[in-house]
Protein backbone atom coordinates (compact mmCIF):
# COMPACT_ATOMS: atom_id res chain seq x y z
CA UNK A 1 0.00 0.00 0.00
CA UNK A 2 1.33 3.44 -0.90
CA UNK A 3 1.41 5.89 2.03
CA UNK A 4 0.01 9.14 0.68
CA UNK A 5 -0.79 11.14 3.84
CA UNK A 6 1.65 13.87 4.92
CA UNK A 7 1.16 12.47 8.44
CA UNK A 8 3.53 9.62 9.33
CA UNK A 9 1.01 7.81 11.51
CA UNK A 10 -2.56 7.55 10.28
CA UNK A 11 -5.85 6.44 11.78
CA UNK A 12 -9.03 5.01 10.30
CA UNK A 13 -11.02 8.01 11.53
CA UNK A 14 -10.39 11.47 10.06
CA UNK A 15 -10.20 13.46 13.30
CA UNK A 16 -8.73 12.64 16.72
CA UNK A 17 -10.63 12.36 20.01
CA UNK A 18 -10.44 15.68 21.90
CA UNK A 19 -10.56 13.98 25.30
CA UNK A 20 -6.97 12.88 24.72
CA UNK A 21 -5.85 16.50 25.26
CA UNK A 22 -6.53 15.96 28.96
CA UNK A 23 -4.04 13.07 28.94
CA UNK A 24 -1.42 15.17 27.15
CA UNK A 25 -1.81 17.92 29.74
CA UNK A 26 -1.71 15.38 32.60
CA UNK A 27 1.41 13.76 31.14
CA UNK A 28 3.23 17.11 31.19
CA UNK A 29 2.14 17.68 34.80
CA UNK A 30 3.32 14.20 35.86
CA UNK A 31 6.75 14.64 34.27
CA UNK A 32 7.28 18.15 35.62
CA UNK A 33 6.23 17.00 39.13
CA UNK A 34 8.67 14.08 39.03
CA UNK A 35 11.58 15.48 37.05
CA UNK A 36 11.17 19.25 36.96
CA UNK A 37 11.33 21.55 33.97
CA UNK A 38 14.54 19.93 32.69
CA UNK A 39 12.79 16.55 32.61
CA UNK A 40 9.86 17.94 30.67
CA UNK A 41 12.17 19.62 28.15
CA UNK A 42 14.05 16.32 27.71
CA UNK A 43 10.71 14.52 27.13
CA UNK A 44 9.64 17.05 24.49
CA UNK A 45 13.02 17.02 22.74
CA UNK A 46 13.23 13.22 22.64
CA UNK A 47 9.62 12.89 21.53
CA UNK A 48 10.41 15.31 18.71
CA UNK A 49 13.65 13.68 17.63
CA UNK A 50 12.61 10.01 18.09
CA UNK A 51 8.85 9.47 17.83
CA UNK A 52 8.51 12.18 15.17
CA UNK A 53 11.72 11.18 13.32
CA UNK A 54 9.67 10.15 10.23
CA UNK A 55 8.40 13.74 10.00
CA UNK A 56 11.96 15.12 10.06
CA UNK A 57 12.86 12.71 7.26
CA UNK A 58 9.87 13.90 5.20
CA UNK A 59 10.88 17.52 5.73
CA UNK A 60 14.50 16.77 4.81
CA UNK A 61 13.41 15.20 1.55
CA UNK A 62 10.47 17.43 0.69
CA UNK A 63 11.64 20.84 1.89
CA UNK A 64 9.27 23.61 2.89
CA UNK A 65 6.43 22.28 0.72
CA UNK A 66 6.36 19.11 2.83
CA UNK A 67 6.40 21.20 6.02
CA UNK A 68 3.33 23.10 4.81
CA UNK A 69 1.61 19.87 3.75
CA UNK A 70 2.29 18.33 7.15
CA UNK A 71 0.84 21.17 9.19
CA UNK A 72 -2.25 21.48 6.99
CA UNK A 73 -2.95 17.77 7.43
CA UNK A 74 -2.08 17.97 11.13
CA UNK A 75 -4.57 20.73 11.96
CA UNK A 76 -7.24 19.17 9.71
CA UNK A 77 -7.07 16.12 12.00
CA UNK A 78 -7.27 18.02 15.30
CA UNK A 79 -10.87 18.59 16.46
CA UNK A 80 -11.85 22.25 16.69
CA UNK A 81 -8.56 23.57 15.30
CA UNK A 82 -8.45 26.72 13.23
CA UNK A 83 -5.13 27.34 11.54
CA UNK A 84 -3.80 28.87 8.33
CA UNK A 85 -0.59 27.62 6.77
CA UNK A 86 1.42 29.85 4.38
CA UNK A 87 4.36 28.72 2.27
CA UNK A 88 6.86 31.59 1.86
CA UNK A 89 10.31 31.82 0.25
CA UNK A 90 12.33 30.85 3.31
CA UNK A 91 9.74 29.62 5.77
CA UNK A 92 6.36 28.12 6.48
CA UNK A 93 4.16 30.26 8.70
CA UNK A 94 1.41 28.55 10.73
CA UNK A 95 -1.13 30.96 12.23
CA UNK A 96 -3.17 29.13 14.83
CA UNK A 97 -6.28 31.16 15.58
CA UNK A 98 -7.93 28.46 17.71
CA UNK A 99 -5.64 26.03 19.50
CA UNK A 100 -7.74 22.86 19.84
CA UNK A 101 -5.94 21.69 22.95
CA UNK A 102 -6.28 24.91 24.95
CA UNK A 103 -9.90 25.25 23.80
CA UNK A 104 -10.81 21.73 24.93
CA UNK A 105 -8.94 21.89 28.24
CA UNK A 106 -10.71 25.14 29.11
CA UNK A 107 -14.09 23.70 28.10
CA UNK A 108 -13.43 20.74 30.40
CA UNK A 109 -12.45 23.04 33.27
CA UNK A 110 -8.94 21.58 33.49
CA UNK A 111 -5.98 23.23 35.15
CA UNK A 112 -3.57 23.72 32.26
CA UNK A 113 0.15 23.26 32.87
CA UNK A 114 1.51 26.83 32.61
CA UNK A 115 4.34 25.81 30.27
CA UNK A 116 1.92 23.86 28.02
CA UNK A 117 2.53 26.08 24.99
CA UNK A 118 6.31 25.66 25.14
CA UNK A 119 5.84 22.15 23.73
CA UNK A 120 5.22 23.81 20.36
CA UNK A 121 8.74 25.20 20.39
CA UNK A 122 10.69 22.32 21.92
CA UNK A 123 8.96 19.41 20.12
CA UNK A 124 8.93 21.21 16.78
CA UNK A 125 12.53 22.40 17.09
CA UNK A 126 13.64 18.80 17.65
CA UNK A 127 11.69 17.78 14.53
CA UNK A 128 12.96 20.70 12.46
CA UNK A 129 16.67 20.65 13.29
CA UNK A 130 17.56 17.47 11.33
CA UNK A 131 15.80 18.99 8.29
CA UNK A 132 17.89 22.17 8.38
CA UNK A 133 15.06 24.23 9.81
CA UNK A 134 14.48 26.12 13.01
CA UNK A 135 11.26 27.17 14.74
CA UNK A 136 10.08 30.42 16.27
CA UNK A 137 6.87 30.59 18.27
CA UNK A 138 5.06 33.74 19.33
CA UNK A 139 1.87 33.94 21.35
CA UNK A 140 0.15 30.95 22.90
CA UNK A 141 -2.62 30.36 25.43
CA UNK A 142 -5.16 29.81 22.66
CA UNK A 143 -3.63 31.35 19.54
CA UNK A 144 -0.11 31.73 18.22
CA UNK A 145 2.18 32.03 15.22
CA UNK A 146 4.66 29.24 14.52
CA UNK A 147 7.37 29.83 11.89
CA UNK A 148 9.42 26.99 10.40
CA UNK A 149 12.42 28.82 8.93
CA UNK A 150 15.46 27.70 6.95
CA UNK A 151 18.37 27.84 9.40
CA UNK A 152 20.38 29.85 6.90
CA UNK A 153 17.68 32.55 6.91
CA UNK A 154 17.27 32.93 10.68
CA UNK A 155 19.70 34.64 12.98
CA UNK A 156 17.63 35.44 16.07
CA UNK A 157 17.19 32.88 18.83
CA UNK A 158 13.78 31.95 20.22
CA UNK A 159 12.85 34.34 23.00
CA UNK A 160 11.02 32.17 25.53
CA UNK A 161 9.20 35.25 26.82
CA UNK A 162 7.43 35.37 23.45
CA UNK A 163 5.56 32.20 24.42
CA UNK A 164 2.61 32.92 26.70
CA UNK A 165 1.90 31.07 29.88
CA UNK A 166 -1.18 28.84 29.48
CA UNK A 167 -4.20 29.04 31.74
Amino acid sequence: MIHTSPLPYTDTKPVGAADFYTAINATFRFIINRFGRDGLLRYWQQLGSRYYAPVSQQWSKGGLQSVADYWRAFFDAEPGAEAEVSLLANEVCVRVTTCPAIQHLRAQGREIVPTFCQQCYFVSEAMAEPAGLTVRVKGGNGSCVQRFIKRSACSEAQNMEDIASAS
Binding site: G16, I24, F30, R34, Y43
Partner: protein, 184 residues
Amino acid sequence: MIGCYDFCGHYEWTFGWLEQLGGHELVRDYWLEAISEDSQRHAADLIVNQGIEGMRKYWQHTLEEEAADHVMTSTDEVYRIDMHQCPSKGFLIKNGLDQYHDYCDHCMGWIGPLMKKAGFVVDHEHNHCGQCWWEIRATDDLTPPSQPGNLSGKSDVRLMPNWKSNLTDHYDRATDPDDKTTLP
Protein backbone atom coordinates in the same frame (compact mmCIF):
# COMPACT_ATOMS: atom_id res chain seq x y z
CA MET B 1 2.40 20.60 18.77
CA ILE B 2 1.58 17.17 20.11
CA GLY B 3 -1.82 16.28 18.69
CA CYS B 4 -4.67 14.02 19.69
CA TYR B 5 -5.03 12.40 16.23
CA ASP B 6 -1.99 10.17 16.80
CA PHE B 7 -2.36 10.20 20.59
CA CYS B 8 -2.10 6.42 20.98
CA GLY B 9 1.26 6.51 19.22
CA HIS B 10 2.96 9.06 21.48
CA TYR B 11 1.11 7.68 24.53
CA GLU B 12 2.69 4.26 23.91
CA TRP B 13 6.06 5.91 23.19
CA THR B 14 5.76 7.66 26.55
CA PHE B 15 5.38 4.32 28.40
CA GLY B 16 8.71 3.20 26.97
CA TRP B 17 10.35 6.54 27.74
CA LEU B 18 9.20 6.40 31.36
CA GLU B 19 10.22 2.76 31.77
CA GLN B 20 13.74 3.55 30.59
CA LEU B 21 13.89 6.41 33.06
CA GLY B 22 12.34 4.83 36.17
CA GLY B 23 11.46 1.23 35.46
CA HIS B 24 8.07 -0.49 35.70
CA GLU B 25 7.13 1.32 38.93
CA LEU B 26 7.30 4.69 37.17
CA VAL B 27 5.01 3.47 34.39
CA ARG B 28 2.51 2.19 37.00
CA ASP B 29 2.71 5.53 38.82
CA TYR B 30 2.06 7.34 35.52
CA TRP B 31 -1.06 5.28 34.79
CA LEU B 32 -2.33 5.91 38.31
CA GLU B 33 -1.43 9.55 38.90
CA ALA B 34 -1.50 11.08 35.41
CA ILE B 35 -4.21 9.01 33.74
CA SER B 36 -6.51 7.58 36.42
CA GLU B 37 -6.43 10.47 38.91
CA ASP B 38 -5.80 13.44 36.59
CA SER B 39 -6.70 12.97 32.93
CA GLN B 40 -9.63 10.59 33.50
CA ARG B 41 -10.97 12.18 36.66
CA HIS B 42 -14.27 12.75 34.85
CA ALA B 43 -14.56 8.94 34.60
CA ALA B 44 -13.86 8.62 38.32
CA ASP B 45 -16.50 11.25 39.12
CA LEU B 46 -19.12 9.32 37.17
CA ILE B 47 -18.22 5.81 38.32
CA VAL B 48 -17.53 6.49 41.99
CA ASN B 49 -20.79 8.42 42.29
CA GLN B 50 -23.08 6.47 39.95
CA GLY B 51 -21.58 2.97 39.76
CA ILE B 52 -22.67 0.93 36.75
CA GLU B 53 -24.82 3.79 35.43
CA GLY B 54 -21.69 5.97 35.50
CA MET B 55 -19.79 3.29 33.56
CA ARG B 56 -22.50 3.31 30.89
CA LYS B 57 -22.32 7.09 30.58
CA TYR B 58 -18.51 7.26 30.53
CA TRP B 59 -17.84 4.50 28.02
CA GLN B 60 -20.77 5.35 25.77
CA HIS B 61 -19.23 8.78 25.22
CA THR B 62 -15.59 7.83 25.06
CA LEU B 63 -15.90 4.72 22.89
CA GLU B 64 -18.15 6.60 20.48
CA GLU B 65 -15.63 9.44 20.25
CA GLU B 66 -12.85 6.93 19.60
CA ALA B 67 -15.00 5.11 17.01
CA ALA B 68 -14.46 1.79 18.76
CA ASP B 69 -16.09 -1.35 17.29
CA HIS B 70 -17.54 -2.70 20.50
CA VAL B 71 -20.68 -3.91 22.28
CA MET B 72 -21.73 -2.88 25.79
CA THR B 73 -23.96 -5.13 27.89
CA SER B 74 -25.11 -4.22 31.36
CA THR B 75 -27.52 -5.14 34.10
CA ASP B 76 -27.87 -3.70 37.59
CA GLU B 77 -25.16 -6.16 38.73
CA VAL B 78 -22.59 -6.26 35.93
CA TYR B 79 -21.14 -4.04 33.25
CA ARG B 80 -19.54 -5.79 30.25
CA ILE B 81 -17.64 -4.57 27.21
CA ASP B 82 -16.80 -6.77 24.22
CA MET B 83 -14.15 -4.95 22.22
CA HIS B 84 -14.13 -6.30 18.68
CA GLN B 85 -11.56 -3.86 17.27
CA CYS B 86 -9.77 -1.66 19.79
CA PRO B 87 -9.09 1.69 18.11
CA SER B 88 -6.12 2.32 20.36
CA LYS B 89 -4.24 -0.98 19.89
CA GLY B 90 -5.45 -0.97 16.29
CA PHE B 91 -3.70 2.36 15.68
CA LEU B 92 -0.41 0.89 16.92
CA ILE B 93 -0.76 -2.27 14.83
CA LYS B 94 -1.72 -0.27 11.72
CA ASN B 95 1.31 1.99 12.08
CA GLY B 96 3.80 -0.66 13.20
CA LEU B 97 4.44 1.08 16.55
CA ASP B 98 5.90 -1.11 19.29
CA GLN B 99 7.88 0.97 21.78
CA TYR B 100 6.48 -0.65 24.94
CA HIS B 101 6.28 -4.39 25.67
CA ASP B 102 2.59 -4.57 26.67
CA TYR B 103 0.52 -1.57 25.66
CA CYS B 104 -2.76 -3.27 26.61
CA ASP B 105 -1.80 -3.19 30.31
CA HIS B 106 -2.41 0.56 30.40
CA CYS B 107 -6.20 0.04 30.52
CA MET B 108 -6.00 -2.00 33.73
CA GLY B 109 -3.31 0.44 34.86
CA TRP B 110 -5.80 3.30 35.11
CA ILE B 111 -9.19 1.54 35.24
CA GLY B 112 -8.15 -0.96 37.95
CA PRO B 113 -7.35 1.61 40.67
CA LEU B 114 -10.47 3.59 39.75
CA MET B 115 -12.65 0.49 40.16
CA LYS B 116 -11.02 -0.33 43.48
CA LYS B 117 -11.87 3.17 44.70
CA ALA B 118 -15.45 2.80 43.42
CA GLY B 119 -15.94 -0.63 45.05
CA PHE B 120 -15.75 -2.88 41.97
CA VAL B 121 -13.52 -5.69 40.69
CA VAL B 122 -12.67 -6.60 37.12
CA ASP B 123 -12.64 -9.85 35.15
CA HIS B 124 -10.83 -9.16 31.91
CA GLU B 125 -8.87 -10.71 29.06
CA HIS B 126 -6.99 -9.09 26.19
CA ASN B 127 -5.37 -10.93 23.31
CA HIS B 128 -2.86 -8.24 22.25
CA CYS B 129 -4.41 -8.15 18.78
CA GLY B 130 -7.08 -5.53 19.44
CA GLN B 131 -9.74 -7.72 21.04
CA CYS B 132 -10.66 -7.86 24.73
CA TRP B 133 -13.59 -8.26 27.12
CA TRP B 134 -14.37 -6.79 30.53
CA GLU B 135 -16.87 -7.73 33.24
CA ILE B 136 -17.10 -5.38 36.20
CA ARG B 137 -18.99 -6.29 39.37
CA ALA B 138 -19.26 -4.97 42.91
CA THR B 139 -16.43 -6.22 45.13
CA ASP B 140 -18.84 -8.17 47.36
CA ASP B 141 -20.46 -9.92 44.37
CA LEU B 142 -18.66 -13.26 44.03
CA THR B 143 -20.34 -14.22 40.73
CA PRO B 144 -17.71 -15.67 38.39
CA PRO B 145 -17.24 -14.25 34.89
CA SER B 146 -19.81 -15.37 32.35
CA GLN B 147 -19.27 -18.29 30.02
CA PRO B 148 -18.80 -17.29 26.36
CA GLY B 149 -22.10 -16.13 24.89
CA ASN B 150 -24.08 -16.25 28.14
CA LEU B 151 -24.09 -12.50 28.89
CA SER B 152 -23.52 -10.70 25.58
CA GLY B 153 -24.80 -13.43 23.24
CA LYS B 154 -23.41 -13.45 19.72
CA SER B 155 -21.49 -10.24 20.45
CA ASP B 156 -19.20 -12.05 22.90
CA VAL B 157 -15.70 -11.45 21.54
CA ARG B 158 -14.62 -14.90 22.78
CA LEU B 159 -16.83 -16.41 20.06
CA MET B 160 -15.13 -14.44 17.28
CA PRO B 161 -12.77 -16.31 14.93
CA ASN B 162 -9.97 -13.79 15.64
CA TRP B 163 -10.16 -14.12 19.44
CA LYS B 164 -7.57 -16.87 19.89
CA SER B 165 -4.04 -15.56 19.98
CA ASN B 166 -0.65 -16.84 21.09
CA LEU B 167 -0.64 -14.56 24.12
CA THR B 168 -3.77 -13.69 26.11
CA ASP B 169 -3.57 -11.87 29.44
CA HIS B 170 -6.18 -12.92 32.01
CA TYR B 171 -7.39 -10.95 35.05
CA ASP B 172 -9.60 -12.49 37.73
CA ARG B 173 -11.40 -10.12 40.14
CA ALA B 174 -8.49 -7.72 39.71
CA THR B 175 -7.80 -4.02 40.22
CA ASP B 176 -4.04 -4.06 39.64
CA PRO B 177 -2.35 -4.11 36.21
CA ASP B 178 0.21 -6.68 37.38
CA ASP B 179 -2.36 -9.05 38.89
CA LYS B 180 -2.60 -11.18 35.76
CA THR B 181 -1.78 -14.55 34.32
CA THR B 182 -0.77 -15.08 30.72
CA LEU B 183 -2.53 -17.84 28.80
CA PRO B 184 -0.90 -19.52 25.80
